[in-house]
Amino acid sequence: MSVAGWIFLASAAVALSGALLAVGLRNIFHNILGFALAMLGVAGIFASLGSDFLAAVFVLVYVGAVAIAMVYAVMLSHPLDQPHRPRNRGKILAAAVVSAGVAMTLWRVLQQAQWPALVPGGDNGAALTGTRFLTDYVLAFELVSVLLLVAMMGAIMVARRARPGRGTW
């Protein structure tokens, strides 16, 4: 197996174990650490597929920014030193059955699908991606930038504490 193949297998193992930690542990802080690990694994998968730029973006955005933002939300969750509230076992079982069913269905579809001829190749460098972003896909690029601006302003407005006597705005 090629070097990229081994990197892919190692990254996939990191991503899946990180995802299991992010979902399975009860401590919300451990969940966020597991999420960061899973995103590192996903970045490794992108690197093994030849998309170095996406790997860097995932490390920067998810491991760097999103995980840190989530840490701030930890203070909102159930206090860690208090005993856990009892769970409804039926709901956990139902969640496991539904997600396993969906995953198995998708897996069956994958097994039966006819994939096009595998001819890996083509330019996936950051230079071409950036050029296409500002030529062919410039409308999508601008829309995403406006969406980010509106979302940040909306986030500030939603999270802001309304001052007494000054109305909502």
């Binding site: 892919f8 730029f53 496991a96 994958l110 979302a151």
Partner: protein
Amino acid sequence: MNLPLVLGVATALFGIGLYGLLQRRSLVAMLIALELMLASISINVVALTTLTGQDPSMGQVVVLIFVGVAAAEVAIALSLFVAIHRAAHDIDVEHLSELKG
């Protein structure tokens, strides 16, 4: 690289994320699970464009747009959690049942 293997890993990640979304009670944990599902879709897009030689740079453009939308989603979601916590003093979905019929 084996295309069905990559897609299988993405499917497993999607299943884990779906399980977390359905099973967890904290809104933050549900957001984490949602982001895992989004990452698995990104893996699919990159694998299908790179390994079939269709147009790798277009796959990267699509995934970068995903990342931008996901970042906006996280910002809105976390600020909503802060607002909900201020109003209800809890972000446990089983307690946020005021509008339940």
